[in-house]
């Protein structure tokens, strides 16, 4: 557990803390949102966090947190007060050295952030997506044909991982050798945003070979022409960023561009297998594919949490936070806040999901959101066209990660349409 002083309440059994209030004014909730118990069933604890108050104090990690939609959105939209430059995990870069060179985009604030963000916005723009659509569609159809022929599959490894792995590394322009490092690298980077628990420690202990491979791939000579990676290096030629910065921006794509989509697609398959009405609606109208993916991102929130750090003393939700306070945002809880969503626990591809925070919101909103949606849409659309039913046939096993919510195994049988 971290040793942080600023008026922290010592960890104690929940019963002793009932009704306790932190000196900031935030109610104390003694839960560990980075525990196995939480990963298995976050929704009950999300509800407790939302109902305790607009801002709460988590003694387990000595941190304030927001779980209601309104406050999560407010924090996301006030980067001057709630900054990213001190890290978007629990670790405060003003006090601790980052475990890797700091991200130039995720862990940056205006005005510097705007410069790097503009580059990735262009590399992953709607116009670029148009050029990828046909290729991605064809890959989705090929994969679904092969999976239907097999019938019994693991929808995580064989589908949710296999599909992004078949299109994303090529779109970046990565060479073939070593791609098996991509998912472990992303997994460890997302674990590293968490508190110093066993998951984070194990991630850092095993990081070296994955980090070495990823950093090597970010160099210009290892990126094929025409891909996202080369486009980032070309932005350096044009003077938008420096040549030293380009590899680190490529790294951002490799960190955040694959595992997130894997968990998004996995979430959608898991939803469609559990909600027969939603599957029937998608089969009847494959045009719902994109909305079905989006709703799965709201419903499961593959990226569950991020932190911000206050740049000044601030009052939010009736609590007064000191400068330098870490604030944990529960994106997944906000996406099911009944104050914002009707029947939040129902997966409904026909609902309006506008404003969900599954991709974040504000200046740091996922820069690869269009790529994620494209992959999700073409995959669900291929399934709707070719698959009659998706039936869960064995134990569903959750994968534990400090930031990402997803499955380790999802055994299903696909029947042909």
């Amino acid at each position: 557990m971290m040793e942080r002083q600023q008026g922290s309440v010592p960890a104690a059994p929940a019963t002793l803390l009932a009704g306790a209030v932190h000196v900031s004014g935030a109610p104390v909730v003694d839960v560990d949102p980075f525990s196995t118990e939480f990963f298995e069933d976050p929704h009950r604890i999300h509800e407790a966090l939302r109902e305790a108050g607009p801002v709460v104090w988590l003694p387990r990690w000595s941190v304030h947190a927001v779980a209601r939609y309104e406050e999560v959105r407010a924090v996301l939209h006030d980067p001057a007060t709630f900054c990213s430059g001190r890290g978007v995990g629990l670790s405060d870069f003003a006090k601790e050295k980052p475990w890797r060179p700091q991200s130039l985009i995720l862990e940056a604030d205006p005005p510097a952030h705007g410069r790097t963000r503009a580059v990735l916005n262009r590399v992953l723009s709607p116009a670029v997506m148009k050029t990828l659509r046909e290729r991605f569609q064809a890959a989705a159809h090929r994969l679904v044909d092969a999976l239907v022929a097999r019938g019994e599959i693991d929808a995580v490894a064989d589908l949710a991982e296999a599909f992004p792995l078949s299109v994303f590394p090529d779109a970046v322009g990565l060479r073939e050798e070593g791609r098996e490092h991509l998912l472990p690298y992303a997994g460890l980077a997302f674990n590293a945003f968490g508190p110093p628990n066993e998951l984070r420690q194990r991630a850092l202990d095993t990081a070296a070979p994955h980090v070495a491979w990823v950093m090597e791939q970010c160099r210009r000579e290892n990126l094929k022409p025409g891909g996202f990676g080369a486009a980032i290096h070309e932005a350096a030629d044009a003077g938008a960023i420096t040549h030293d910065e380009a590899p680190l921006l490529v790294r951002s794509l490799l960190t955040a561009g694959l595992d997130t989509t894997v968990n998004g697609i996995g979430a959608a398959i898991y939803c469609l297998a559990r909600f027969p009405e939603a599957w029937a609606a998608l089969r009847a109208d494959p045009g719902l594919a994109r909305a079905a993916f989006e709703e799965a991102v709201r419903f499961e929130s593959p990226v569950q949490t991020f932190f911000r750090t206050t740049t000044q003393a601030v009052e939010i939700g009736g609590a007064r936070l000191d400068e330098g306070s870490k604030v944990l945002m529960f994106l997944g809880a906000a996406n099911r806040d009944p104050r914002r969503w009707d029947e939040p626990d129902r997966y409904d591809p026909t609902r309006s999901t506008v404003g969900h925070v599954g991709f974040g919101s504000g200046i740091h909103m996922c820069v690869g959101q269009l790529l994620g949606r494209l992959e999700g849409e073409v995959m669900l659309s291929a399934l709707a066209a070719k698959v009659g039913s998706i039936t869960i046939t064995g134990p569903v096993v959750r994968r534990y990660n400090n930031t990402l919510r997803g499955l380790e195994r999802l055994p299903v049988t696909l029947t042909a349409a």
């Binding site: 709607p126 994109r290 506008v354 969900h356 909103m365 820069v367 949606r373």
Partner: protein, 107 residues
């Protein structure tokens, strides 16, 4: 409250009151208007709230930003000189009576 007229590709019109300070996209999606998707929720990142501003009004709106211009290049429907992203048009008293047309597709 300014009234904005949205015209669908089939010619159907809908007049919506949009609070000042609110974007046309927010006004439309919060009142259940089909035809504006707004996947990114108004963060100017997706080009799925594309509208064609009536020519009579085109010159009366604040100019396009560079970001909006780049996004419109990737809009699903044809880009016209009057194309805008409705999340970037904020309702003001001056815009009372504004007419915008919806494209045939957003994605």
């Amino acid at each position: 409250m300014p009234t904005i007229t949205f015209i669908r590709p089939d010619g159907a019109r809908r007049d919506l009151a949009v609070a000042e300070g609110t974007s046309l996209m927010q006004g439309a999606t919060s009142q259940g208007l089909d035809g504006i998707v707004a996947e990114c929720g108004g963060n100017a990142m997706c080009a799925t709230c594309h509208v064609y501003v009536d020519e009579a009004w085109a010159g009366r709106l604040p100019p396009l930003s560079e970001d909006e211009d780049a996004l419109l290049e990737g809009a699903a429907a044809e880009r016209l000189p009057t194309s805008r992203l409705s999340c970037q048009i904020v309702a003001t008293a001056d815009l009372d009576g504004l007419v915008v047309r919806l494209p045939d597709r957003q994605v």
